[in-house]
């Protein structure tokens, strides 16, 4: 019996979940239903959850784990389940409602999903980031589904005059086996609405062996058909009567502002109706707009042409001399000197001095842009002290809050409608584009759509940080690693909220630096200063990318130096199966999760390495010019190991015939989505390793579109990506899936390139480094 069904294990969670029957006309009307039954679980603050406590109760707006999910059953039997998280391709809009449907024995073909608007008091935290939707909401969704099922069964039992124990919900109806009577959910809905909401203690969850949907991988995304045939509605598809279209010329340098502008030529462009300055805020100002000059027109094309006709003189401000080559040299210089110590075990200095050999590696990763297929876009309609927004945002609640504060209106007067997101990757967790639309709508007195072009997206976003990772590994005469010093120098995301920031925040340090799990006696991690000169933000898997690149490359370099197989070297460094203790780390973020529930378990890390080595055929013969590389990393409390096979021809052309990835993400809901996320991570990893570099000159981003910031095309994509999911143990909580696939890809690829060519690449992107 596992944690999902063991009632004793559920007890802590049950105490704090309150499930209410909220069959109110207004709610039904809001859902577009005329009758039926609605169930809501109010958000409650509670300190303990299920058998495995998660960090969900510490998230903003509710310290909650269980969202208020509305389940409605119409008289015709259609079940509507509200999805409170944003859909950006991870499938969360399908997976979370699917959990509810599973537990309530709903027939998925008769389930409809409705997107929640931004309201975290009602729905709980809506931040769709951190790879935590499933791990925070698996149990709450099961509870809601079980409650609905119980109420339907009770209603049927009463109608038939039989004990409730004799009836059972099965596939969208309730059955009384003894008499053969059956009744559909729709026919029961009104009676079910009259039942008391069962106590959580009394809920009986389904036995996983009876699951029809969870864990099967046979349910496709609810939006799949619409996406495929082009009827899916994204932010740019929103049309309102009287809507204006706007593009904004934003300061090209972070912290810059308009010195002067002349909109006369822009106003002469056919279709342009207005040119106006947009309010900006001095940097740093969280997600507030950069400001600039807006061109408002009757269509986007006219707005763009009008913007091209603007005459603007910029005051670039204090970051006007930010230049990537010089800054990289600064980072490297900083990495070669002592920095703020953030983890210390043993005496690294003495161990390095006494080492038989010291291997030093410096690894560089430039700024990266998200370049989701859908650039930022938002529609706003501001009327007096009310505002309605339509936008692809990862944080609906945060958007509502920030729009309200910026406009100076009550939060309750702001409605945020979340459209589908054409990719997010962390860019769309910042709502600057929604605020821009709101400001312009307020000014012009009409709905306004602010559309970002690809150039805007590349040049004015919140970039992944730039970093140098320096690792010194000391080896004794037997080749055993006895010392490990890792200095990580990179501007912090915190610089987006706090001027004067020169060190990374605990959450950044906890992504592959201080949580390094190797069994080494003397370890020291340092974080020298690095001031930001552009807006830095979250990018899929965040600081894990440069850290995994460095650490896993160094593993392979140590293997070479000691003439060991890289996989064996990796396992030796991971060490014995154990729970890693990090007492010297002042603030181990651990992805916001309690360490008791989600410790660093080296047995699980070893297992994915061994699994991928077995399934991926590590050590197999490969043709000339091919090579295999391996890497493993724990992030978002999941464990991943990846093998990449590369082929490099005599001209340096790189292709990837095969990728194998083993993932341990604990208890999982939708394996088809896991496969999809890992495949996508390989594509993203390949793009950033091969091409990804945002560079600066005179404070300005030098790139603008896919011609100079490419993503890989179909001919560069891995030909085959195999994904192996570790079956969860009986007590293994769910962990992240959306991001963990990215970090190990780069080092596995780079290690494979070394195996194929003998070239060790330590600075990304690869670019022309392989060319003869």
């Amino acid at each position: 019996m596992n944690i999902l069904t063991n009632p004793k294990k559920l007890r802590g969670f049950e105490r704090y979940v309150k499930v209410d029957n909220v069959s109110r006309r207004s709610i039904l009307k809001g859902l577009g239903l005329a009758g039926g039954f609605v169930l809501a679980a109010p958000v409650m603050s509670r300190p303990a959850l299920a058998a495995y406590q998660t960090g969900a109760d510490k998230m903003p707006h509710g310290t909650v784990v269980d969202p208020r999910v509305f389940v409605a059953i119409a008289p015709d039997g259609i079940v509507t389940i509200v999805a409170h998280r944003a859909e950006m391709g991870t499938g969360v809009r399908t997976s979370l409602p699917m959990i509810v449907a599973e537990e309530m024995e709903a027939d998925w073909s008769r389930v409809r999903v409705q997107q929640a608007h931004g309201d975290e008091v009602k729905f709980g935290n809506q931040d769709t980031d951190g790879s935590r939707s499933t791990r925070h909401y698996l149990m709450p969704m099961r509870q809601i589904g079980a409650s609905a099922r119980t109420m339907l069964e009770t209603a049927a039992a009463k109608r038939w005059g039989v004990p409730a124990t004799e009836v059972k919900a099965v596939n969208h109806e309730v059955v009384h086996s003894a008499s053969g009577r059956r009744i559909g959910f729709g026919d029961l809905a009104a009676d079910a609405a009259k039942q008391s909401v069962p106590s959580v203690e009394g809920l009986k969850l389904k036995d996983p062996k009876d699951f029809r949907y969870l864990g099967k991988g046979q349910i496709s995304m609810v939006d799949l058909r619409d996406i495929t045939v082009g009827t899916a509605r994204y932010g740019a598809d929103v049309r309102l009567a009287g809507m204006k279209y706007a593009v904004i010329a934003r300061p090209p340098v972070t912290g810059g502002k308009v010195a002067s502008f002349d909109g006369a030529a822009a106003m002469k462009v056919s279709g342009v109706e207005k040119v106006m300055e947009v309010k900006g805020w001095p940097w740093p100002s969280k997600f507030q707009p950069l400001g600039g000059v807006a061109v408002i027109a009757r269509n986007t094309g006219a707005a763009i042409k009008g913007r091209d006709a603007l005459k603007i003189v910029w005051d670039d401000g204090a970051n006007g001399k930010y230049e990537s080559v010089a800054y990289r040299a600064q980072l490297e210089e900083a990495a070669r000197k002592p920095g703020l110590v953030v983890r210390k075990e043993g005496d690294v200095e003495a161990a390095l001095k006494g080492a038989d050999k010291v291997i030093i590696g410096e690894y560089y990763l430039p700024h990266l842009a998200h370049v989701a297929m859908e650039p930022p876009v938002a529609v706003a309609d501001v009327k007096g002290d009310k505002a309605e927004i339509w936008a692809p945002v990862q944080s609906a609640g945060g958007t509502r809050e920030d729009v309200a504060k910026t406009l100076g209106i009550p939060e309750g007067n702001v409605t945020v409608n979340v459209t589908l997101l054409g990719g997010g990757f962390g860019r769309k967790s910042k709502c600057d584009y929604a605020i821009e639309a709101a400001l312009l709508s307020k000014e012009v007195g009409a709905p306004v759509k602010v559309q970002w072009t690809r150039e805007d997206d590349v040049r004015n976003g919140f970039l992944h940080t730039v970093s140098v990772e320096r690792i010194e590994a000391g080896l004794d005469k037997n080749g055993k690693v006895t010392a490990w010093r890792h200095r990580s120098v990179a501007p912090s995301i915190a610089s987006t909220f706090a001027a004067g920031t020169v060190h990374q925040a605990p959450f950044e340090l906890g992504m592959g630096l201080v949580d390094m799990p190797f069994e080494i006696a003397n370890v020291q991690c340092e974080n020298p200063e690095a001031a930001a000169h552009t807006r830095i933000g979250w990018f899929r898997s965040v600081s894990n990318i440069p850290r995994a690149f460095a650490v896993q490359s160094m593993v392979a370099e140590i293997a070479l130096a000691t003439k060991r197989d890289p996989k064996d070297m990796l396992l030796e460094l991971i060490g014995s199966p154990r729970i890693v203790k990090l007492d010297s780390v002042k603030d181990l973020w651990n992805y916001g999760e309690p360490y008791d529930s989600y410790p660093i378990d080296t047995a699980r890390l070893r297992k994915v390495v061994e699994l991928v080595a077995d399934k991926g055929g590590w050590g197999r013969s490969v043709p000339k010019g091919h090579g295999l590389g391996i890497a493993a990393h724990r992030s978002f409390v999941s464990y991943i190991a990846t093998i990449v096979e590369v082929a490099v021809d005599d001209k340096g052309k790189l292709t990837v015939p095969r990728v194998d990835t083993a993932i341990d993400c604990g208890t999982y809901v939708n394996p088809e989505r896991i496969q999809s996320q890992i495949e996508g991570a390989a594509i993203m990893g390949m793009s950033l390793v091969k091409h990804g570099a945002i560079t600066f000159k005179d404070g300005k981003v030098q790139q603008g579109n896919f011609d100079d910031f490419p993503v890989i095309r179909i001919d560069e994509s891995p030909a085959v990506t195999n994904v192996y999911i570790v079956p969860p143990g009986p007590d293994t909580p769910p962990s992240g899936v959306g991001e963990p696939g990215v970090p190990p890809f780069a080092p596995a690829l780079i290690n494979a390139i070394f195996a194929a060519t003998g070239k060790r690449i330590r600075a990304l992107p690869i670019g022309k480094q392989l060319e003869a």
Binding site: P284, G301, R307, D315, A334, K405, S495, A531, A532, G704
Partner: protein, 87 residues
Amino acid sequence: MKPNATALAVSLLSSALLLHAQAATAQTTSPPSATATRPATTPPGQSSMPSDAPPATTTQTTGEASRDPVVKKMNEDEKQKVETKGK
């Protein structure tokens, strides 16, 4: 009425020939002029004032604390949030 297989085959064949002819025509005809609007790579009318900014370094910060009380509070709240929750 049962479809006439021969007539159908002829109809399909005719269509195929028609498509082929159209394709041949397309290859010899100049493409229509582009109508999509492309943003200028470097906006021609935009320029920067001469900059007296110092070279950007890892140790010299350049941001300024917000004087807007609303944004100042937003910054403080977000900083506190990310320091404790990560996001």
